[in-house]
Structure formats: C-alpha cells, structure tokens
C-alpha cells in the first residue's frame, strides 16, 4: 500500500503527460498568451504600432473610466440586472426542474421538456421582435389595454418596465435550457430514498423538501457560484436591442459602454480597461462567495 501511494516518476508516466500535452498547448496558446493583451489597459494602443511599441499611459485609462460620471450608473445597472436574474430567474429554473421531475407520465415529460427547451434556440433578435409585437407601443397588449381600459402601458419606452421585461425575456428564452443540469443532478438521487420516505408516510411535498432539494444542493451551490462569476457580464445582444432613449437610465450597462467606446470609436485600450475591471471584480465576487460556501460546509469550486 505504502509503495503504491508514492508519487511515480516521470519516466513511468510519460504517456499520460503526452496525452495531456495537446490540452496544455491549447490552453497556453489560446488562453494564456492572449492574456498578455491585458497590458494594453496601461497603454494607448495603436494596432499599427503593435502591442509593444504603443506608448505607456500608466493608469490614465482607469482614471478616465472611474472618473466618468456614469460609472456608478453603469455599475448599478449591471449588478441589478444580474442580481434580479439571480433571485428570480435562477430559482425559477430550479422550480421548473422540480416540476418536470415530478411528472410521472414519461411521454408528457419528454414533450414538455422539449417545448421548454425550444425558445433557447431562437436568436435575441427574434425574441426582441416578438417582444415588440406584444409589448410595443402599438403591440397586442397595448391594443387591448386601449380597447378595454382606455389606457396604455409604456412597456418598452420607460425605465420602470425595462428590468421586469428583461428578466421575463430571460425566463421565457432560457429557463427550460437552464433545467438540464438540475435534471441530470436529480436523476442521480437514489430512488431507494424516496421508497423509504414513502414507507415512513412522507407526502410528496415532504419528500421534495427533505430528499430532492438536499440531493441537488451541491449542484445549486456550484451553479450559483458560476453565475456570480459572470455577474459583471450582461447579455449584450438582449440589452443592446432593448435600449432606447427612454430607458437609458436603467439599460446602460458595461458591455454596452464598451461597445460604444471601444468598438465604435476604436478606443481599444479603454475597452480593455473596462474588461479588466470586470474580470477583477468578478474574480473577487467568486472567491468571496466560494469562501462563504465553504464556511457553510459546502464543497465550492476550488
């Protein structure tokens, strides 16, 4: 036993290292080398001078970024949309998975699963089109509001409705898709537990609460951590299509800002600065949440 646990020598293991080599090479070339591009955040990048010869500007880009009067608005809008997704969209996917899991009729389950997956494959442009024809100023809902109640609601052209609509769109498009991992986790719960609970006289709700939910707790925590890691990202396509001059106060997010400043105006360095800020903030969020999860006795991702 003792011998087996001793670390093996390289010459014994070289076929395995060779197996890993393409993977390592891939990560080095496509993930680690591009990271050197981050130094552009401290330069005034010109594609024609190249990365090395572009002049250094120190922290100027960061100063300018944090100095914009809109910084706090951007931060608030970005985080709020993520937070709402976290407390509405995310539990909704769990809820939906539990519902699907409780369906006993196999055929019905398959059909309903397929139906809830489908919207995931529509592009955001299509979804925006559907949204306009339902919620637009001259859309279906406003048409009936006008006919029945003599009023109208500014769904797409007001600050108030922007966030609810964005969350609604996310749920409509992706909630079904989001259930996949949970359903996989649910499939891994030992059916004997349910049988035992049944014998002890547990009701259906009780077995969901005491067996199903604890059974996927680990998965929930890990997915939650992963979501936190991307909380500085917004769904660019979705937000880009949904903004207009009447909801700018709530719809302007970092990704949109990067698009306008970085891509439309060719200020690459500035865009990288914003991207770097986002990454660092996300890293802190994930590490913090991971630490908290471990304090609570969960596994975490590191």
């Amino acid at each position: 036993m003792q011998r087996a646990l001793r670390p093996k020598r390289f010459h014994q293991l070289w076929p395995f290292y060779l197996l890993a080599a393409p993977g390592i090479l891939y990560f080095l070339t496509f993930h680690y080398i591009p990271m050197t591009g981050l130094i552009l955040a401290f330069k005034e990048y010109s594609p024609f001078k190249g990365m090395m010869d572009s002049p250094w500007v120190g922290l100027d880009n960061f100063r300018q970024f944090f100095g914009t009067s809109d910084f706090y608005m951007l931060l608030k809008n970005t985080l709020l949309i993520s937070l709402l997704n976290l407390i509405i969209y995310f539990p909704f996917t769990i809820f939906l998975s539990l519902l699907l899991n409780e369906v006993r009729l196999k055929v019905f389950k398959r059909v309903s699963q397929t139906i809830v997956y489908l919207p995931h494959f529509l592009s955001w442009v299509v979804i925006y089109g559907i949204t306009i024809s339902f919620f637009g100023p001259s859309g279906v809902i406003n048409h009936y509001l006008g006919q029945w109640f003599d009023g109208s609601a500014n769904f797409l052209v007001s600050n108030e409705w922007f966030r609810p609509l964005v969350i609604f769109q996310s749920i409509w498009k992706d909630a079904g898709w989001g259930t996949i991992i949970f359903l996989a986790a649910l499939a891994g719960i030992n059916p004997e537990q349910y049988e035992a609970a049944k014998v002890d006289g547990a009701s259906r709700l009780q077995s969901i609460w005491h067996i199903t939910l604890p059974g996927i707790k680990g998965t929930i925590v890990i997915l939650l951590l992963l979501r936190l890691g991307s909380s500085m990202d917004s769904n660019f396509m979705q937000i880009f299509l949904m903004t207009n001059s009447l909801n700018l106060d709530v719809s302007n997010v970092f990704d949109l800002f990067v698009y306008h400043v970085g891509l439309e105006q060719f200020n690459y360095s500035f865009a990288i600065t914003v991207g770097m800020f986002k990454s660092v903030a996300s890293l802190i969020l994930v590490l913090g949440a991971n630490y908290a999860a471990k304090l609570l006795g969960e596994e975490g991702i590191f």
């Binding site: 100023p137 207009n244 001059s245």
Partner: protein, 523 residues
C-alpha cells in the same frame, strides 16, 4: 503488455493532434509568405502586368455572382487589374471593418464607411493609412471631385482617403415623401408649408385611409443619443422649416448648437402637439433607423416619412402597390415654415472614403489610385449602368441601358455597378430612376434643394472629448423624448441643455472651434 497495447493508439492520436496543430501554424506562415511574395514582385511589374488589388467594401442587398462573372472579367481586362473584392453586408460592415483594421488583414483598399469620423481620425493618427495627396495629383477623374468635398475629407491638410462622391444635396433625409393617392382622395394639395403638412397628417389620422385604425400619419424613428441629441431622427425638413441650424451655427464668433436656439423649442412643441394628436407613429421611440421607418411606409400603413429622391424610384412604388394598387408617392421638395424658413442639409458630398492601409508597399499605391481613377471614368459610368454590351444590355442610350428581360436578369446576377468602386462626381447621383418621368422629377427636386442648402460649419471636424464620451447626449435625448411624449415639463429639458452648455459643451465647442480657426486663419 496489455496496457501498452491500449496506449499505442492513444499516444498516436495525441501525436496526430500535435502535428495537426503544428500544421495549422505552418499554414499560417505559408499564407503570410504568399501575401508577402507579390509585394516583392510588383515593383518591377510594368503596366503590362495586372496589379492585384484586394478591396473590402460595403454591400446593400444581394452580392453579385462571384464565379464566372462576365462583368468582373471585362472590368479586370480593361483596367489591367486582378481584382478581389470582399463584399460585406451593410449590417455587419462596421464590425467587420473594425476587425479587418485591428487584425491587420491584408487588404489593399478599405472603404471607411463613416467618412471622416472619429474612427477615421483615430486611425489616421495611429498611422493606419497612406497619405494619398501626392498620388491624386496625377489622376484624371478623381481630381474632378469638388474642392469642398476634398477639403471636408482632409485631415491636417492631407488626403488619407479618396471620397466616394455623392451629391452635396439630397442624400439621406432631405425630403418628405407622402402618399399622393391619399392626398388626392381628400382633395388635399401636396404640402408646401408646415401648416399644410400638419393638416394633411390630421386628415390621415381622422379618415384612416389604411383602414382598421392602422393608419400611421407620419413615421419617424428614435435617435440613438450618441451623435444626435434630439428626441427623434427622420425629421430634418421639419427642423429646417422651423429655422433650426444644421447642427452648428456660427453667430459672429459665437458658436451655437442646434438645441440651444429658441427655434428648437418651437420644433419640440410641434412634435409634442403632433404626438398628442396621434399624428406620429407610436412605435417611433423603439424604431432604430431610417430603414424601419421606410419599411412602414412601403408596407402601406404610413402616410409620410422622410427620405430622399431615390425613394420615389419605381421599385418602391411597385412594393407599395402590392398592398394598395392605387398607391402613389409624392415628394415634398421644399417645406416652408411660418416665416418662410426652409432648408436642406449641405452634406459632405461623399459616402465612404477609400483608404489604403499603410501595410501596402508604397510603389503599389499609385496602381491602386490609378485603378480607382479608372473606375470613375465616363466609360465606367456607362459600364455600371449597362454592363457589357451584348451580355447585360444591347445599348446605352441617353444615360440609360436598353435591356431585354434576359439581359436584365444577367445584370441582376453580375451586378456590374458593384465593381465600380469609385463613383464619378455627379450632382445627380441620387436620381436613379429608369423611368424618364421620374428621373426628371428627381433631377428637378435636386435642383430645387440645392438652392436652399444649410451648411454645417463644423461638418468635417471632430471632438475628441465627444468621441470618448459617447453617452454625453443620451440624457438630453431622453428628456426631450419624454417632453414630446407629454411626460415631462420644459424645465427638465432646459435644465439638460443648460447642463450641457456649462459642462461638456464647453470642451466640445472649444475643440471644434480650434480646428475651424486653425484652418480658416491659415488661408
């Protein structure tokens, strides 16, 4: 023994992957090598050797047939070039251009679609393009482009891009287009004044000619708040009827921005009043561009929209007739305000600048410029309309191609006009109809608006501050839209205008004025 047996295929496949990767890298090198090779060989190449030119340009509609294109063959032979054009659809152009520039793709010629905007300025300052000034002097056709157009496109007195000429008047959103058949139905004249227009829109609203309450009297679209602060775009003729300047105005040495004028308030009030009466498309705030407004008009539900003379072309009328066989379009050439104010923007006079990336070797630049000059020749104006005689048309007569149905089809496939990269300077470039009557009307309208041009003194200057703060007009756009929609008071708008005047406006105005002064005192 067993283990090694299993391992062999695994190791082999791993090794294979490594070699594949290496192979990819090798490919890249050889590709770079092949682009480098002609660079070395061209300088010695005399006129006999065709110059190979790789160009990227914007495309509206379907691309031309690329294999066995007789039009392209003909042009390559006459121009003594080996032409390789990448057509990028207009929706994706900005992104693709950005990628092409930053990735240093090996293009010899790029169309900067935004003209002399911040992007172009930035790129020129980064040293992205050749200074073409010395190469242009020797040209025959390009040098005929109006001095005003050249000056507008210059940076620090040098030409880094060759403008693709368009009319100085009549592009974009110069005229109101209105449903002639609806006007006739209610015995209304084609509006000449803002009051007549408002009245016509009111009648459209009341009588509902589209039926089912679907009539949209006037369709416009929301402004992006990045370049224009106003609540809506697609309203230019109306702005000029209120006497609003073309973005900027020089009042002695005082610089005035359009929204700082009292006329602008009157214009917003007209919008607010029209909105409350339901004359303006309810969807306007969520529409994103002129195309969407145009498609509402062509779908037959809207009574009026702002476009230009090329919108009365017969293909548009045909589209309209599919929903309403009686449909006709009238064009409002001049719209007058209460005190006789009127106007049409004097434009930069070009759409897009042809720039030669600095990665192109110097001795090839003249060849490229010469080719552009060649495409702008008289013979190629005929070519762009009639293609190759015998294949795309039988004859070119009075500026129009004589085509059989068969030839028309071939023309649509090969699209000879798409390969004419540089256009010939022509004030009637927007008059594009093949019907003599409509063509005459288009030309007459262009003549009319060329007499009422409103200039923007700062048209060709850029503010660095504004380009780094693209959101600086967004708040203003929001409060103005709210005001028009009846959701806010004038005080809110005034507050935003004042905030701009005392804040970012100071810097932006100064930057623009400095450039203006530098250029005007030098003369």
């Amino acid at each position: 023994m067993n283990i090694t047996k299993k391992l062999v295929p695994l190791v082999a496949s791993a090794a294979l992957m490594v070699t594949t990767l290496a192979g990819c890298a090798g490919d890249k090198n050889s590709a770079a090598g092949s682009t480098a090779a002609p660079e070395g060989s061209t300088p010695s190449g005399a006129a006999s050797k065709p110059a190979s030119i790789k160009a990227m340009t914007i495309l509206f509609g379907n691309p031309p047939e690329m294999t066995n294109n007789k039009a392209l063959e003909d042009l390559e032979k006459r121009g003594n070039v080996d032409l390789n054009v990448t057509f990028v659809p207009s929706e994706a152009y900005t992104d693709k251009l950005s990628v092409a520039v930053s990735a240093g793709d090996s293009y010899d010629l790029l169309l900067m679609d935004g003209g002399k905007d911040d992007k172009f300025n930035n790129l020129v300052k980064m040293g992205a393009f050749h200074d073409l000034t010395p190469y242009i002097e020797k040209t025959k056709n390009i040098s005929q482009i109006d001095e005003v157009v050249w000056n507008g496109a210059k940076i620090d007195g040098k030409s880094y891009g060759i403008p693709r000429p368009r009319g100085l008047y009549g592009g974009g959103e110069a005229n109101i287009l209105i449903r002639k058949d609806w006007l006739d139905k209610y015995s209304l004249p084609v509006p000449k004044t803002i009051d007549e227009l408002t009245n016509a829109l009111k009648v459209f609203k009341e009588k509902d000619p589209a039926g089912g309450g679907k009539t949209i009297p006037f369709t416009i679209y929301g402004s992006d708040g990045v370049n224009s602060p106003g609540p809506f775009s697609g309203v230019q003729p109306i702005q000029y009827a209120f006497g609003i300047p073309n973005v900027w105005k020089l009042d002695g040495d005082k610089v005035v921005r359009d929204f700082q004028t009292p006329e602008y308030k009157a214009f917003l009030e007209w919008l607010r009043d029209s909105w409350s009466k339901g004359l303006i498309d309810k969807d306007a705030p969520v529409l994103k561009n002129q195309g969407q407004a145009r498609s509402k008009f062509l779908a037959g539900t809207a009574g009026a929209f702002v476009g230009n003379v090329s919108d009365i072309v017969e293909t548009n009328v045909e589209k309209l007739k599919q929903t309403d066989p009686k449909a006709e379009i009238a064009i409002v050439d001049v719209l007058e305000g209460a005190n006789g104010q009127k106007g049409a923007s004097v434009l930069s006079g070009y759409y897009g600048l042809w720039a030669v990336p600095s990665s192109v070797p110097e001795d090839k630049v003249q060849q490229i410029v010469d080719f552009l000059d060649f495409t702008a020749s008289e013979e190629n104006v005929a070519f762009s309309k009639a293609g190759v005689t015998g294949i795309h048309s039988s004859e070119f007569k009075d500026g129009m191609a004589v085509q059989t149905e068969e030839q028309k089809k071939q023309y649509e496939l090969d699209k000879p006009n798409n390969f004419i990269l540089e256009n010939r300077a022509d004030p009637y470039v927007y008059a594009n109809s093949k019907e003599p009557d409509i063509l005459a009307l288009q030309k007459a309208t262009l003549d009319t608006i060329s007499k009422i041009g409103v200039e923007n003194p700062f048209l060709s200057y850029n503010s660095q501050y504004a380009s780094k703060n693209p959101d600086s007009y967004k708040k203003m756009s929001a409060v103005m839209t709210k005001y028009v929609l009846g959701e806010g008071a004038w005080e809110d708008v005034q507050k935003e205008i004042d905030a701009w005047t005392e804040g970012p406006g100071v810097q932006i105005t100064k930057e623009l004025q400095d450039q203006y002064n530098a250029e005007h005192s030098a003369k």
